[in-house]
Amino acid sequence: MSYLLVVATTVVIYAVLSVGLNIAVGYAGQPHLAQGAFLGIGAYMVAVFSTRYELSFWVSMLIAIAVTAASGLLLGVISLRLRDDFLAIVTIGVNFVVVAIFQYVPWFGGATGVYAIPLPSIGGQQFGNGEFLILGLVMLAIAVAVSGYLARSWLGLGLASLRDDELASASSGTPVAPFKITAFVVSAAIAGMAGALYAPFLSAVTPTSFGFTESIVMLAMVMFGGVGTIRGAILGAVVLGALPEIFRFVSDYRLLIFGGILVLVLRFQPQGIIGTDSAAAGWWSRFRRPGHSADDDGSGGGAGPYGAVGAAGGSLPGPVDAPGAGSAGE
């Protein structure tokens, strides 16, 4: 039972990270391959502040969110200057730089990392496995609510327009710079929140657990489910996060299978398994409204430069967010 709780909590933390990453990658269309680094920054902040400075978990978590949001701001400012492939490569580099800083700056505990991270407590009671899962689900609900709100707001509309055509969007008055930066900041802050839970959950952090591979795993989750949709990000986290745990033999081949799934999905179902314009979304909409094809679904997305889009269009009722909200409440 407690093993199941641990697996479920891991999956929920991945879901929070994917939903956050989807804001930068899916809504704003920015190549972002550094979510693992932001997870690491959040986890390390909680680890250092709750062990060395003996701050409570909740205070450390606020610090973690603030620091990751500031790091996201930095990446957002960089993203204004660089496009597409250049930005993708810089975000890849960010992983290596952040991991190296964890490894070589003594304040972060060096190569051994930080261990014996105290368990959070609420009302004098220490966290057990159940409490970790509950806090994880609360975080997922927050992440889903924030990103659902973003998608429907002016910000979401602006992001969708600059994702599809930045020049046209800017010339019709979208404040591209602040919108892009906001997407990176929110994305990073959500990663920081997840990282804050991750550190006491693991009880130890080491530099190498937050690198490029983790970033790729998260991007794979978003792309597997369907870029630009909350439901896709959650499905990706659930499937790819639970797979190595359910099938023990899989864990030896974890990366082989991740790589393979990523390639196969991109090759044969580039919109993700349940993304906008995916086959599954088409069947679903035909099932609900016979006679209409998926293209009439009003998402207005179409395939942007980074695959399927939609959800951020804001005009779509129910189906976009409903599955996400459903699994958050379970």
């Binding site: 190549p31 960089i78 200057r81 660089l82 496009r83 597409d84 492939d85 250049f86 993708a88 490569i89 810089v90 890849i92 580099g93 960010v94 290596f96 730089v97 190296a100 800083i101 490894q103 070589y104 700056v105 490029f212 591979t213 790729i216 991007l219 794979a220 792309m223 081949y253 990366l255 082989l256 991740f258 790589g259 393979g260 799934i261 990523l262 390639v263 991109l266 090759r267 580039p270 395939a303 942007g304 430069p305 980074y306 695959g307």
Partner: protein, 288 residues
């Protein structure tokens, strides 16, 4: 100073071998191909396996290059070509997926422990100004110069070079003018993967070790080099390879920098990109 120079230039030559293929591919298709670094590992493993079975190392190197050419041709035909319409990020992520999956496959096939590749390259070696220079370093230097001059000559003076430049400038027009674009792409992939495999064998001999993850750092450094050279500019890529190789060696030797050698490349990259967002040499043979 001299040891750092020799080390930097020889390592730079390896980076050039590795990065040239993806740079040419970027020029043609505007996509980044990380899986090219899988050819480096594949080449090294095929080479070391045949060497352990008693074949001469250069035969192993040739076999490794042949195997990598097949890998490159399969990837471009069955993965990249169908994905081209999906945009650059999808292709980049797919190539990362291929790279990760292939590394795991190497780990399963050849086991995770490192293998030795003890080869003495029978080339003149000795000490220059008190610095020992080994045969393999001489070979790396020679190959670096050959690749530099060779790609300059091929791109500027042969039919393949002309078709590459034409296709890189405008794929549709080149096609309309009778260039067999698919064949040009296949040829560039084959050449790039062969060079990467050669780099892998030399890497393995130079450091006397072959491991499944030996491609990790070169893979991402390769991206840094391609960007630094101005995406899709092959001459800039080769120049950037030597710049990065030298910068790493010199910074490492003289300042004993707090961060490891492999991080320096990325810090340099991020700094240069922020100052010159289109790379060091944005305009070369073609406009990127």
């Amino acid at each position: 100073m001299f040891p750092a120079l020799v080390d930097g230039i020889t390592v730079g030559a390896l980076y050039a071998l590795l990065a040239l293929g993806p740079s040419l591919v970027y020029g043609l298709l505007r996509v980044l191909d990380i899986a090219n670094a899988a050819a480096l590992v594949l080449g090294a493993y095929i080479g070391v396996t045949l060497f352990q079975h008693g074949l001469p190392w250069w035969l192993g190197a040739l076999a490794g290059m042949a195997g990598s050419v097949i890998l490159g041709l399969l990837l471009q035909r069955f993965l990249y070509r169908p994905l081209l319409d999906q945009g650059p990020l999808v292709v980049l992520v797919a190539s990362i997926g291929v790279f990760i999956a292939m590394e795991e496959a190497f780990r399963l096939i050849w086991k995770p422990y490192p293998r030795q590749f003890p080869v003495t390259v029978p080339l003149p070696h000795g000490t220059i100004a008190g610095t020992p220079v080994t045969g393999v370093q001489v070979l790396m230097l020679i190959l670096g110069v050959v690749v530099l001059l060779g790609s300059w000559w091929v791109l500027g003076h042969t039919r393949l070079g002309f078709t590459w430049r034409a296709t890189a400038q405008d794929r549709e027009t080149a096609r309309a003018m009778g260039v067999n674009v698919n064949r040009v792409v296949a040829g560039i992939f084959a050449a790039g993967y062969a060079l990467a495999a050669l780099a892998g064998v030399l890497f393995a001999i130079r450091y006397n070790t072959v491991t499944p993850d030996m491609g990790d750092v070169p893979a991402y450094k390769m991206l840094a080099i391609i960007v630094l050279g101005g995406l899709g500019n092959p001459m800039g890529t080769i120049l950037a390879a030597f710049v990065i190789g030298l910068a790493e060696s010199i910074v490492n030797t003289y300042w004993g920098f707090i961060l490891p050698r492999d991080t320096i490349a990325f810090l340099v990259l991020i700094a240069i990109l922020l100052i010159r967002p289109a790379g060091l040499l944005p305009k070369g043979l073609t406009r990127a």
